[in-house]
């Protein structure tokens, strides 16, 4: 009895469900409940069509390129199905279109030819037909003989082809070594001359970074393979070279202890020993470069280094000009000093030898001005040309003497 009752209640509920909530899937099968379900169904359909019409109406206007695609589909639909089905196909397509232009645009079944401009913006990297892509290929492939190509060839691997206008611009880096060697190149062929001309007109070129989204995915796969392969030998080396590792660690510890002793942290204001070490390395590197430059520039005409000395220099006193009392130079120096009172030249009129740049055995540099020892470091390099000129107004016609170009900058700072 109970069981029967329960069953009855269930049936009742089912009836309520079918009649109460129109979303049930059973009603369509249910012949008895067909009326209420039919009532609800057209409602749902009507809602959808409104939305879609609203959504698709402006879209069709804007997406001119996508139209033929839709038409094609429609034509296909016509051949197979009724007009009602046609509409559904169109709706379906417009739905996918909306999604594909959004953030979920990744795997789209729409072919590249049919892709409109908006979507092309997102996935242009993959599109073989896009202009940008072909341009990139030109840049990389080296098939064209444009002037740009020659330029790229000239710069070689230094300026690797990367294309991203937004990020950064390659500045023509000139190695200090190449810098001077180029002086000796006497002749230039026509191509190089042309390239130079372009270089002069367009001195700044964008760094080219090529987007390779699809290939990146592939690389990820290969990486997973590679890591599993490399993981085993890594373990081996640890086992074999444990002694070596220990030795290295010990050395590292010693070095760090030494660094601690030197207490350079406060000097460089660095966080840890590694940073200090790095700082020291770059400093010594700078010193070596300065020394090299000084030696290279020696007796070379029209080459300058810009020096920045402290605005206040140690004090000097001028011993009377030597030209007047050359015969009594060294022997009677003290006497002459007493006789003619030494002049204290002001900062602006200081002339003569003020000190020296000293290269130590370790490669470090120091500057001694007067009795004060100062540090020397490399200043920021420039990417553009710098000339030293002197205004000469003494002659009949005032002229500007081009003395030479500046090749680097050096900053001298006092030690505290």
């Amino acid at each position: 009895m109970r069981y029967l009752e329960e069953r009855y209640i269930k049936e009742d509920k089912a009836g309520k469900m079918s009649s109460g909530s129109g979303s049930g899937r059973l009603p369509s099968l249910n012949s008895s409940g067909g009326k209420p379900s039919l009532k609800f169904k057209p409602k749902a359909v009507a809602r959808r069509t409104k939305e879609e019409r609203d959504a698709s109406a402006p879209k069709i206007k804007t997406e001119e390129i996508s139209r033929p695609y839709n038409d094609k589909k429609n034509n296909q639909g016509k051949s197979t199905a009724t007009a009602n089905k046609q509409r559904r196909m169109a709706r379906f397509l417009s739905n996918t279109r909306v999604i594909s232009s959004g953030p979920l645009a990744a795997g789209n079944f729409v072919s590249e030819k049919g892709s409109d401009m908006r979507r092309g913006f997102i996935k242009s990297e993959g599109g073989t037909s896009s202009l940008v892509h072909s341009g990139l290929q030109n840049i990389e492939g080296g098939e064209t003989n444009s002037d740009d190509e020659e330029l790229d060839a000239e710069h070689g691997a230094k300026n690797k082809s990367k294309f991203n206008m937004g990020r950064e611009y390659a500045v023509h880096e000139i190695d200090d070594d190449n810098d001077y060697e180029s002086d000796e190149i006497g002749e230039m062929d026509e191509e190089a001359l042309q390239a130079k001309r372009v270089e002069e007109l367009f001195p700044v070129r964008p760094v080219r970074i090529r987007h390779e989204d699809i290939e990146v995915v592939k690389i990820e796969e290969s990486i997973s393979d590679a890591t599993t392969r490399e993981a085993t030998p890594a373990v081996k080396t640890e086992e074999v070279g444990s002694e070596l590792q220990q030795g290295l660690e010990q050395r590292q510890a010693n070095l760090q202890d030494r660094l601690k002793e030197l207490s350079l942290e406060s000097q460089f204001q660095s966080l840890d020993q590694n940073e200090t070490l790095q700082e020291m390395k770059s400093l010594i590197n700078d010193h070596l470069l300065i020394a090299k430059k000084l030696n290279k520039i020696n007796n070379k005409p029209s080459r300058f280094i810009l020096f920045q000395l402290p605005s206040k220099l140690p004090e000097f006193e001028e011993i009377a000009p030597k030209t007047e009392q050359e015969p009594v130079e060294t022997g009677t120096k003290e006497e002459s000093d007493k006789k003619s009172e030494p002049i204290k030249p002001s900062e602006d009129s200081l002339t003569g030898k003020i000190g020296s740049i000293r290269i130590h055995r370790s490669g470090k540099l120091s500057v001694k001005i007067g009795n004060v020892i100062m540090d020397i470091s490399k200043g920021a390099d420039t990417a553009f040309m710098q000339d030293v000129v002197a205004i000469n107004e003494s002659g009949e016609t005032p002229c500007l003497e081009n003395l030479g170009r500046i090749d680097g900058r050096v900053v001298v700072t006092p030690r505290f």
């Binding site: 180029s182 002069e200 000395l309 140690p314 030898k353 055995r361 710098q386 002197a390 003497e401």
Partner: protein, 257 residues
């Protein structure tokens, strides 16, 4: 003298004796100082470049060509040809004219039609003074420092475009001689006259602009290959003066503070 000379030679082999003579009196105490364990530790001096300051009366300027790559200046022959050079000493305004190469990437017809030839690229910049800047060159192992008066960054200055737009404006003004424009002109005049008595003097950047605009530039001829002459005079001047350092490190630090 001879003993000093020997001392010098052992320490610094590549120095030429004729240069070393004037520096001797200074050099001797320096070397003693260098060998002090406190100062240098176990890091002796291997090579020395003497630092000389000279050329106080030279008017040295540094011109930075912001639109020319450093590479171009590598050889003297590659230096862009300077057609004309103007300088306003009071306002420190530089103007260099560089003839444009009309062989490549140059539309002669358009330049003539629109901008009245425009066959010259004008670089313009303002010189900025800075203390402690020296241009140094190395000669016979000695560094000679010449103080730099001003540093100017030169950038392309499109005077011809300004001129073209000004001309166009004037033409427009001539063409539209309708009452509306005339009326507005009258209004501006009256405003000006009302403001004049209370108007303050131009200050800051406006004044600098006015000074620069009103100043007549000096035409300077661009001369090259004068470096050797310059070098000789500087070296001579540096050698004719002898300096004796005063005080030590502490004195200097106190002086700085």
């Amino acid at each position: 003298m001879s003993s000093e000379n020997q001392l010098f030679v052992t320490d610094d082999e590549d120095r030429q004796p004729e240069e070393s003579i004037p520096e001797e009196p200074l050099r001797v105490p320096e070397e003693i100082h260098d060998n002090e364990p406190i100062e240098q530790g176990d890091d002796p001096v291997m090579q020395e470049f003497a630092l000389n300051i000279a050329g106080r009366d030279e008017l040295l300027h540094v011109l930075q060509y912001a639109n020319k790559a450093k590479k171009i200046g590598n050889r003297i022959a590659d230096h862009p040809f300077i057609g004309a050079c103007r300088y306003k000493p009071k306002s420190c305004v530089w103007e260099l004219d560089i003839p444009v190469d009309d062989g490549a990437f140059f539309n002669k017809q358009r330049a003539e039609d629109n901008w009245g030839k425009a066959d010259v690229q004008t670089l313009r910049g303002v010189g900025v003074g800075n203390s402690g800047q020296y241009a140094g060159f190395v000669s016979d192992g000695q560094v000679y420092l010449v103080p730099v008066d001003k540093v100017a960054q030169l950038r392309p200055f499109f005077k011809y475009i300004d001129k073209a737009s000004l001309d166009r404006k004037q033409e427009d003004a001539k063409r539209n001689v309708n009452p509306a424009s005339q009326k507005s002109q009258v209004v501006t005049m009256s405003v000006k006259s009302a403001n004049d008595p209370t108007q303050h003097r131009l200050a800051g950047a406006l004044l600098a602009h006015k000074v620069a605009e009103e100043e007549e530039p000096t035409e300077l001829a661009w001369v090259e290959n004068t470096f050797e002459h310059f070098k000789e005079s500087i070296v001579e001047e540096a050698n004719s003066h002898e300096l004796k350092p005063l005080g030590d490190e502490k004195n200097y630090e106190e002086n700085l503070l």
